[in-house]
Each structure stands twice: as C-alpha cells, then as structure tokens.
Symmetry: C2
Subunit: 208 residues, 2 copies
C-alpha cells in the first residue's frame, strides 16, 4: 500500500481489501473506498454485512449445485421440468443465460468451474462425482455439455465425455456456428469453417 | 434484481449492494459476488469488516480535513512544512498526487468536493468556513487554488476567490499549459491557446 502513501491505516486496509476484487487495482479501490466513506454509516454496514452474510449462509442445491436459498433450488423443485435432461454448465451465470432464452425445460448441473491445471483446479474440485452418481442412478436420458469453448472448457468436456460414455446416456453439446445477427465478414475462421461443415437443410419455418 | 433472476435472495442482496459502487453494474456486481463466494469465510469477513471499520472509525485532520488516523494528520504535524502556504484541493487523491511530485512543502486544505448545484453540493457542504477562519487568523500568506478545471472546479475557485480576496493573502492557481511530453497536435485548443497567451521567457536552467 505504500505505493499510494495513504495517510490512514484504516483507509489503507479497506483499499487493500477492495483491490482483491477482480479487475480492481489500487487506484480504483481507492475510488471505491472514498465513495463508501461518503455514504451513511448504516449504508456501509448494510454493504459489508450483506456480503459477509451471503458468504456465511448461502446454500447450494443438493441436486444441481446451483446457488440457492433452499436445499433444492427452484428449478430442480419444479415438477414441470424434464428431470431426464441435464445441462452441464460452469456457474450460475450460465444457468441465468440459458434460462433467459426460455428454450430449455430440463435441469442443470453446475460444475463450479472448469478443469484448469494452471489455476490448480482438478476434477476433484468440481461436482463431477455427483454428476456421475446421477448417471449411475439411471434417471438421466441426455446430458448437454454446455461449457465455454476455451481450452479449459474443451478439456472438461472431454473429461466428462470419457466418464459418461459408458452409461446409456445421449451426450450432446451446444450447436456452434455463426451467431444470429452476426456478419460473416467479422466471424472468426474456426466458427465459420465449423458452420459450413455442419450446415443444415434450409427450413422456412421460424422455429428452426 | 429480477432483471437477473437470481436463485438466491442472499446473492441478490449482495449483488444489489455491490452494484451501488461507482462503475459497477448488475453484471459486474454478480461477477464480484461470485468471486467473493469462492473466498474463504474468514477472508470475506475481513473484507466486509475492514470497510465497515473504515467508515466507523476514520478521522479527519482537524486542521486540513484530510483523512487521517490521528487528530492532526502527518503533513500538518510536520514542523518542516510551511504553514503559511495552503493548497486547496478536492480530496485525498489530489493530496496524494501533489505529494508524489515532491515539489510542495506547504500544507493542504481538503474541501471534500466541489460546489455542484446539480449534485446538491453547496458551499456549506464543503470545508469552506474552516478555510475562511484560517484566513481570518492571519497565519496564511498564500493560498493555491488547485481544483480541477471543470465547470464545478471553476465555480468553486471563483467562490473561494471572492471569499478570500479581502484578506491580505496572495491567491494563486496552478499553471495551465501543454503537459510535459505532450504533443502539440493532440493538445486541445483551449489549453494550447492559454499556453500561448501565458507564454514565459525561455530559461535554460533545469528548475524552471
């Protein structure tokens, strides 16, 4: 902290903690700390306590491992969802993104990350065992691997595929191709190449 | 928060609080909350408590109103500083910026903001009265107005000038001109115009 040379160790402490946040450097942390200093005391208490309370009391759904306030999350508890269809995603943000499409009526399985030896995250740090148990129980008909197309995502996909292929489960991944509204000119070669290889028959109905 | 449709009210609460920070929207707040969830519980406690403690216990120097852990800040308490020279700045970041130059040996007066009717900040919300008291006490020989060159900064400068001009105090502002290392081509017209109007005699010594 002596880089900034702050005149208060209390301020230094808060700036140090705020600069742990991803994408927040020392200067931004100082800006945030000065902002918080101008708030009322009870507002800052509610700020700090809501974060501490979240970390202490948050629960994870025992079925899909998504963040939840209850033992079983709203999605898993919904009898109208297809429990034989499981979409494997990295975290709650992916669940939210897929839910926002209103196109998916199955359940999720939140891995909690991707296999990434560089960050020290191995298969045992993720909820893979729980996914395999589900597969063993024979209640799943199809697993959709919906991890991002990074090296870590592909590694994790492949690891899961190897683990799951011996069960009588259909394993699918998201369709890859040119995004709707995207211009071909600005689409990267790999995506464009894949979208030509995996071209599909022209269909004039709006649903496909 | 229903825009994001989070599955946990604890997470929603934390995201809501985090999104109050300047420059942090709902999506960034969610990213920060998920980051905090992955930290150890004691780390998150120290994060939240350091912020609450800062807001509760922070003090302001009784002389210059800068943030300080003691009644009188390090700068005001330093007998080697020239107490007859007072530089008026907006907040602690400006103090740090000027201190980093190692060119200034006077004291500071931290206003705590700028007069900004749009944000509901009037002269009474700033430490202007305390500056006038200092002027009245007759211990100040020169006041440097070092506020930023925005409309609010200029308004505040002018307000302070009117308040101070009746005291036997020299009132100065920072020199404005083309920055050292800046290219003329990319300097805005107002700055360049001012730097021509206020040109100074060429001096081959390094100190000027």
């Amino acid at each position: 902290m002596e880089v900034l040379g702050l005149s208060s160790s209390l301020l230094e402490g808060a700036v140090h903690e705020l600069s742990r946040l991803p994408g927040v450097g020392k200067k931004t942390a100082l800006r945030l700390a000065l902002f918080l200093l101008k708030l009322e005391e009870h507002e800052v208490e509610s700020f700090g306590n809501s974060i501490i309370k979240m970390r202490k009391e948050i629960q994870y759904c025992q079925n899909c491992h998504n963040i939840s306030d209850t033992e079983t999350c709203r999605i898993c508890a919904n009898p109208e969802r297809n429990s034989g269809l499981v979409c494997v995603v990295e975290d709650i943000r992916d669940v939210m993104a897929i839910e926002a499409t209103h196109q998916y009526k199955g359940l999720y399985h939140v891995l909690g990350g991707k296999i990434s030896p560089m960050d020290g995250i191995g298969p045992n740090d993720l909820t893979i065992d729980s996914l395999i148990s589900k597969a063993e129980s024979g209640t799943i008909g199809e697993v959709i691997l919906a991890l991002s197309t990074t090296i870590e995502g592909d590694t994790t996909n492949f690891y899961l595929y190897k683990k799951l292929k011996n069960y009588p489960i259909q394993i699918s991944t998201l369709a890859r191709g040119v995004g709707i509204g995207d211009e071909l000119e600005y689409t990267d070669e790999v995506t464009l190449g894949q979208s030509i290889l995996h071209r599909k028959l022209f269909d004039d109905s709006l649903n496909t």
